[in-house]
């Protein structure tokens, strides 16, 4: 009784492992980096990625071959992170994002935030400074910036990965980018002070 659908089919463990390898193993890099940026700890990132692949293997039957493997894995990792690691980290009283976001989803969109951030300051920043600014963000904001700008997921893909409506993806991105700009500006300013001190020495 052969079922004709796109669900993963294999006749042996060997075949399953080979299929799994083909579909997922090349994604370890992005997943590991995502895990690291979430946990900011190498050991936790290792555990998180191992856990993710283990779950992916166990639920391989529910994965539709040829569909968005990366999004599927990212979703598993994100959920694993929430369940296993978020509890461990010190979290301030959790903000009710749904409430905040429905406010921002209304027509009351902020005007462009005038800032002193300049394109050349941005271009002069080094990777570490950018990473620090990103890591200074709350994990939900950091996540969405990573998913959108670093990994290039579409709004629809992000909505599925994060289990939120597309409208919330948009508003959260908007908010996250505003905070990120603030952080980048802080770093750019401190860079400027350092340069000034060097000149004065």
């Amino acid at each position: 009784m052969e079922e004709q659908n796109s669900k993963t089919r294999y006749k042996s463990k060997e075949e399953k492992d080979s299929l799994f390898e083909k579909e997922f193993m090349h994604l370890i890099g992005p997943l590991y980096n995502f895990g690291y940026r979430l946990t900011l700890d190498e050991d936790d990132a290792n555990d998180l990625v191992q856990e993710t692949f283990l779950k992916a293997y166990r639920f391989f039957d529910s994965y539709e071959k040829g569909t968005n493997a990366k999004a599927w894995l990212f979703r598993i990792l994100k959920n694993t992170f929430i369940n296993e690691y978020r509890r461990k980290t010190k979290e301030p009283n959790k903000v009710d994002y749904q409430e905040v976001e429905s406010y921002y989803n209304s027509d009351d969109v902020n005007e462009p935030i005038t800032s002193d951030l300049r394109v050349d300051s941005l271009n002069n920043m080094i990777g570490d400074e950018v990473a620090n600014a990103l890591n200074a963000l709350d994990v939900d904001f950091r996540t969405i910036i990573i998913l959108c700008d670093l990994e290039g997921f579409t709004y629809e893909e992000m909505a599925k990965i994060l289990d939120i409506p597309i409208g919330t993806v948009r508003s959260r991105l908007h908010r996250a980018r505003n905070v990120l700009k603030e952080k980048l500006q802080e770093y750019a300013q401190s860079m400027g002070y350092k340069d000034q001190r060097k000149k004065n020495d």
């Binding site: 193993m25 590991y32 191992q50 005007e111 920043m125 950018v130 579409t154 908007h174 980048l184």
Partner: protein, 95 residues
């Protein structure tokens, strides 16, 4: 006199409100355009808008640069080989 003042204020507020509305429209589209999620109409709207609106033009460039900085400046950590081995090991152990 009061009417005159009211008229002036209304004109100023109206103008600012108009600009605010116009820039609000631009702002809503900005992220969509940068993220490749905008419709053709939205892209055209933004393109035409930033041609004559300096604040929005600046804003667009900053947002674009922030996105590029995240995409290109963040270093990708190499995956520890032991992690790859562990994952393969786990797969072999599991059914």
């Amino acid at each position: 006199m009061i009417d005159f003042i009211k008229e002036v204020v209304n004109k100023l507020v109206g103008k600012k409100a108009e600009q605010r509305y116009c820039c609000k429209d631009c702002l809503c589209r900005l992220n969509s355009v940068l993220d490749g999620e905008a419709t053709k109409e939205e892209m055209i709207y933004l393109q035409e808008h930033i041609e004559h609106c300096a604040p929005c033009y600046n804003h667009y460039n900053i947002e674009k640069s922030v996105k590029e900085v995240i995409k290109h400046k963040l270093e990708q950590r190499p995956v520890p080989p032991s992690l790859i081995d562990s994952i393969r090991g786990n797969i072999q152990k599991n059914c």
